[in-house]
Assembly symmetry: C2
Homo-oligomer: 447 residues x 2
Amino acid sequence: MQTRPRHHYLKGIASAVFQAAVRAVAPETCIRRHLSRSKNRLKAGDTEYSLDQIDHLYVVGAGKASAAMARAVEAILEDRIKNGVILTKYGHGVPLKHCKVIEAGHPVPDENGVRGTQSLLDLVSGAGPEDLILCLISGGGSALSPAPAEGISLADKQKTTRLLLECGATIHEINTLRKHLSRIKGGRLCTAANGARIISLILSDVVGDDLDIIASGITAPDPSRFKDCFDILARYSLTGKIPDSVREHLTKGRDGKAAETPKPGDSLFERVQNRIVGSLSDALAAAEAEARRKGYPPLVLSSMIQGEAKEVAKVLCGIAREVQRSGKPASAPVCLLSGGETTVTVRGDGLGGRNMELALSAGISLAGASGMLLLSAGTDGNDGPTDAAGAFADGSTISRAAASNRSAPEYLTRNDSYHFFEQLEDLFITGPTRTNVMDLQILLVDG
Amino acid sequence: MQTRPRHHYLKGIASAVFQAAVRAVAPETCIRRHLSRSKNRLKAGDTEYSLDQIDHLYVVGAGKASAAMARAVEAILEDRIKNGVILTKYGHGVPLKHCKVIEAGHPVPDENGVRGTQSLLDLVSGAGPEDLILCLISGGGSALSPAPAEGISLADKQKTTRLLLECGATIHEINTLRKHLSRIKGGRLCTAANGARIISLILSDVVGDDLDIIASGITAPDPSRFKDCFDILARYSLTGKIPDSVREHLTKGRDGKAAETPKPGDSLFERVQNRIVGSLSDALAAAEAEARRKGYPPLVLSSMIQGEAKEVAKVLCGIAREVQRSGKPASAPVCLLSGGETTVTVRGDGLGGRNMELALSAGISLAGASGMLLLSAGTDGNDGPTDAAGAFADGSTISRAAASNRSAPEYLTRNDSYHFFEQLEDLFITGPTRTNVMDLQILLVDG
């Protein structure tokens, strides 16, 4: 088991690696990396636009980081922005000069969201082929832009989503429904824009960065169809359980009496550019660089880690132990990096989040080991309903807890990882980072 | 999704890698790698013995592969073996010339095991300081060598183990109890041997190859104590639930009225050599070589993979997808190798095993992907209560099943992986391999 100074030293390195990763995906940084202007030329990624050929320039957006993204856009294009509407979560607004910021409910959508989304759609509907719409999408954008299809109440739409969630439907399946019950999702924002050019700058918070998943694909082509919705409902025996208004709308769609979402290949998208401006991969690249600077050559395992948090921890620790045992898959010292979005099947009544739960399980896996430390934390600085971003675990975690008569397996069973780490002073607290590219695991292994 | 010929091609490569791994840990191969003889010199690992200085040479053993190990020993030392007793599972015996083979119950011990263990202990008790005992240990050795301490019935000992298992006690905790309720485990075989030299050749079937875990450490020093047993029972609130005979024996031990297991540092062990002759690491090394020959440079992730099988699959597939996405942690083509022992929390009433369950979950994770194929299989050729060793999964698994109206998530919920893969003709059937170094995952990723 490692000594206390080593424990603190490794915590410091892991923190530095995490902070470097988060800095790389700050909304302003992401926007500046992908959007620049030189006089009357606007460069978005590798595409250039002449501002002279743009009639009106609008800025819209939805997501927890979208107000901060808009601020960076304003700094670049201030004088040219005609108007804008940004939907963000309560407490996530920042003062903007040319865009209206509307704060709304997240993760549960509310009427502020409904009204804000209508304002956003009204603005977009006023655009035309000579205009350019900059769309700033980030995590939470789906809940923050509720626009139920005609005849469906927000409550009925939410009930449908809840039923699907409870049945264990995948995010793809849920989004297929969402897109077909919405006036903005599944590329419908583009449909509404009357042929305006659209540049969508996207901060991804989903595993794999699929454009049609992030914020339910507001500006992305949608390969799914109304009839798929019925297949999904049948799969989970929900056809009879969803609200009548939802079933009626889906039936109209299936029978060709409600408009389909725009499909891949639709000429509409010739004027739409979807661009991921920040993602977990960017964060990992920065983490790699910082780990290397700190003397821990990095090995990225995956940016697409999914699964039950406590089980994921076992696999990661199994890999770390192999490093010490045989020098595989990399020789020590090494910083094993991974990220994604794990899940927690809640069975207890404790306080925690998926990162702290992962760390607690890692503590059990690493018990007694020396020279290994894991930090798992949310890049938004927020893990579950707590003030912590995540937690640290190492070979001393379990024995230090045992010394004050606390059993790690019991805390894990109760899903009470927050209180477990709080008493050990191994919570990782950053405050809100104002960005979100999911979670990061940093696993340092000494030589 | 890959084409059928590619599917079959990758299956062939994965099979070849698996077979090479298993060949490397065949009992005979392991014995020959670590035991050799040149005239009157016996070499065990890097230690040499003069056969002239050995009075009697005995061979004992317990485990599913121990009879096959003894056959290899007989081929080397035939004329010098005085006597031997080998405990193995029903159907796992082989004809031996100088050793008595006793088949017994596994995984549930039975009276044949009790009688056989007594024969083994009688033989060992007849040895003395001038004698050499070769002890051949392999997976299953614990259940195959039941020797309850005086006053405890086999049924009472089994009940204690079962109570611990049901509470989710770790293998370390269960073994601490086992060792303190046994006349052979926890190094007690060495105590019984009257100072005879002992060479223990061990085929490891436990994660991490801990000597005091494999077959409950028949010939290994035991760091645990009677008082630890009470801590463990208290931890799971079992102190009042275990049979009276067990509690009485543990109380006697705690009060110094029953002998402790021999501890690390005990001079007894100066004459004992414990040697791992075959392990998952050996199998992985052979798998690496074969993968390289087949054009898939290997990357060993870990030989210490644990966790819920379906969650482990998600992590492994997350790593494979990252290979295709970013060339990390290794560039394609690559053969990701891992192994260990996963678990399955059974909730359904289907037929399957942990490897097939892992493969089924991998099928879901890989759905639609091309150029990736996973084989997960038990190196003993046996996964769960089935005739299969494991199963193959790739990007076509789910859609091929869907084509005949079978839903992978439903089969997974029912823990019915065997029937799922049987219909797809993607079971991996090898027959018994006569060895066991846990499970192997072979994950091929095309460039």
